[in-house]
């Protein structure tokens, strides 16, 4: 009932002895011999985290396509000046709300700005917000989590209580409060997203450290007098890597969605800067007259986030230590 897949392969062939007669018995049949086992023992070759990560794409087509899409997005957005056909802020009222054409593949917005060019530049914000606050919060979370788990005692208590508080604070609400104080913009989102997500990472890393600390090889390292921070870097950090990578691939799509929502609300990217969320907001009144200019940024977000999520699923299946034994 739980899954059926057909797999055809030949069964093992044996060479059964005939039941009667003695003609088949070969010459020298009774000579005693010593047969050794064939040495081809089946030990799976050792793969470190990175080799495992890359081996995902050998078998998983969806993950491969997702990775290619993400790389394409990054290449196009980083090289925006090379790929964008027009200046994203150059207005030309004659082209106001122009429908898609050969000159403007995705049409123009109300001020006659080329939507394709604006999307290519706008993607920079989405990708930056997707990647950088995630990296910042992951690093922060990993450092604090390892410290809490390894040092223990008061330090652990303090760090984890702060983490509890940050975990309880939704990033969207924090962003709204921060935007009231320092004004809306890139920095607001950056700060809000960096200072919420670290807590989850810290928690997971800490529990990982706590279980790793009991492992023999860490004890062995301690007993021969290796310094604590050396143990942390050399033994514990590499062991946390799978968990960290899994969390990384979970946080990126979430952050991209939060950024676009905040920009849509007017709290995120501010004109003349552009972002996909902001573009949807700016063009939403013209959905009837020129649907492309609203549809395109939404689809761009959707595809990017779907790609990250598919990639995240594949990475988790391969690297999540809790799924390993299966």
């Amino acid at each position: 009932m739980f899954g059926k897949r057909k797999l055809a392969a030949p069964a093992v062939t044996t060479n059964p002895a005939p039941a009667e007669g003695i003609d088949w018995i070969p010459e020298g049949a009774l000579t005693p011999i010593h047969v050794e086992e064939s040495a081809e023992a089946e030990i799976a070759p050792y793969q470190n985290t990175w080799e495992k990560f890359w081996s995902i794409f050998k078998h998983n087509k969806v993950a491969l396509v997702s990775l290619i899409i993400i790389i394409l997005y990054i290449v196009i957005c980083v090289g925006a000046p090379l790929f964008a056909p027009y200046d994203p802020v150059e207005t030309n009222l004659a082209n106001g709300l122009a429908l898609p054409s050969k000159e403007h593949l995705l049409g123009c917005d109300k001020l006659g700005r080329d939507v394709l060019s604006r999307m290519i530049y706008g993607g920079r914000i989405s990708l930056m917000i997707g990647l950088f606050p995630t990296l910042v919060s992951m690093t922060l979370g990993a450092v604090l989590g390892i410290t809490a788990g390894f040092v223990g005692g008061k330090v652990d208590q303090i760090i984890m209580r702060i983490a509890d508080i940050c975990m309880a604070f939704p990033s969207l609400l924090l962003a709204m409060v921060v935007s009231y104080t320092i004004g809306p913009g890139f920095l607001t989102i950056f700060l809000a997203l960096s200072f919420v997500n670290w807590a989850g990472t810290a928690r997971v890393v800490r529990s990982e450290v706590l279980s790793l600390r009991e492992k023999e090889y860490v004890e062995a390292a301690t007993s021969i007098g290796v310094k604590k921070w050396v143990i942390m870097l050399r033994h514990i950090l590499p062991n946390c890597m799978p968990t960290l990578i899994v969390m990384l691939t979970n946080h990126i799509p979430g952050n991209i969605l939060t950024e676009s929502s905040l920009s849509f609300l007017g709290i995120g990217a501010q004109p003349p800067m552009t972002s996909w969320g902001l573009m949807v907001y700016q063009t939403k009144s013209y959905l009837d007259r020129n649907p492309t200019i609203t549809l395109a940024p939404g689809i761009a977000i959707l595809i990017l986030v779907v790609a990250f999520n598919f990639l995240g699923d594949a990475v988790r299946d391969k690297l999540d230590p809790r799924l390993q034994e299966q």
């Binding site: 739980f2 939704p170 609400l173 709204m176 409060v177 935007s179 929502s261 009837d288 977000i301 299966q326």
Partner: protein, 306 residues
């Protein structure tokens, strides 16, 4: 069990106070006098000074925080600068709308999410499983504001099947509930599937089969109950987050709930309203997580019977 619950509640109280403090500090560190914002420029400086003094805004930060907490305990969440009404009253008017939206979208999410997860698990690795999981993945990847607008445009504007915005009737709630429900059902379906698949690997499932139970009884009675423990926890947390105000959905569909209150407080720079509505929302989420935790311990006999 009781000890566990009391313990959990006690741990939560300092977190709530800490969050009130953080929100308070973040909003108060701003230079400039809020009274000026409230009264516009026409009033002369003497009046501003007098009102500032009256409202106690010259007192030290901690005194003001104490006063805010004290007021909060008595149900006084401050006075809105712009709307000229008590914040408590504003929140109490808005909250029922948020509750309405939360309930309808949670229902949609559960009705879609749980069966999708179960079917996917049973039909693991088939085309149906992949389709359903793809649908769920798109659900969690969807930019809600964009999907909401498209739905509004197609169902409301073009086909005229449903009202475009507002919150007076249940018909108004259908579109917002579909958008939010789909987005939330994705994570429920994914968790239900993985949890059920995990549970079905257990030895006691084999025992149930060995007893002669038909497969549907094995899955629904022995598999599902165990696998629902994490799912119910997630459902409670999700519901709490819906109750705390679906900021985006509320603003796209013009639903006068907590989320919209917060957005308008920001755009109008209405500090007391923003402060208290954010605190209110966060508290709902914290309480929701607490309930989820207690629910979890209630569903798991190992913790319950301790």
């Amino acid at each position: 069990m009781v000890k566990y619950i009391v313990n959990r509640i006690l741990v939560t109280i300092p977190i709530i106070i800490a969050i009130i403090l953080i929100v308070f500090l973040l909003l108060q560190v701003l230079p400039g006098n809020p009274i000026q914002v409230m009264m516009k420029e026409k009033v002369n400086q003497a009046v501003i000074d007098r009102v500032t003094e009256q409202m106690g805004l010259n007192d030290p930060l901690m005194v003001r925080f104490g006063r805010y907490l004290w007021g909060m305990l008595h149900g006084d969440l401050g006075h809105s600068y712009k709307l000229k009404r008590p914040v408590t009253q504003l929140i109490m008017t808005a909250f029922p709308n948020t509750v309405k939206l939360a309930i309808t979208s949670a229902l949609v999410a559960w009705i879609i999410g749980i069966p999708t997860g179960i079917i996917s698990a049973i039909k693991k690795d088939t085309l149906l499983d992949r389709t359903l999981m793809g649908f769920s993945l798109v659900g969690i990847s969807l930019p809600v504001f964009w999907a909401a607008m498209l739905l509004q445009y197609i169902l409301g504007y073009k086909l005229k099947l449903l009202p475009i915005s507002g919150y007076s009737t249940i018909r108004h709630m259908i579109m917002p509930a579909i958008v939010l429900g789909w987005a939330s059902s994705g994570s429920i379906a994914r968790l239900t599937r993985s949890s059920l698949l995990g549970v079905m690997k257990n030895d006691y499932i084999r025992t149930a089969r060995a007893k002669g139970l038909v497969e549907s009884a094995v899955v629904l009675r022995h598999g599902l109950k165990n696998s629902m423990i994490p799912v119910v926890t997630m459902m409670a947390m999700q519901f709490a987050s819906l109750l705390s105000g679906a900021v985006i959905t509320e603003s796209v569909f013009g639903i006068g709930g907590i989320g919209q209150l917060m957005v308008s407080a920001i755009s109008q720079r209405d500090m007391p309203l923003l402060q208290s509505s954010v605190v209110f929302s966060t508290m709902i989420i914290i309480i929701g997580n607490l309930v989820a935790d207690i629910l979890y311990s209630f569903l798991d006999p190992k913790i319950r019977t301790q």
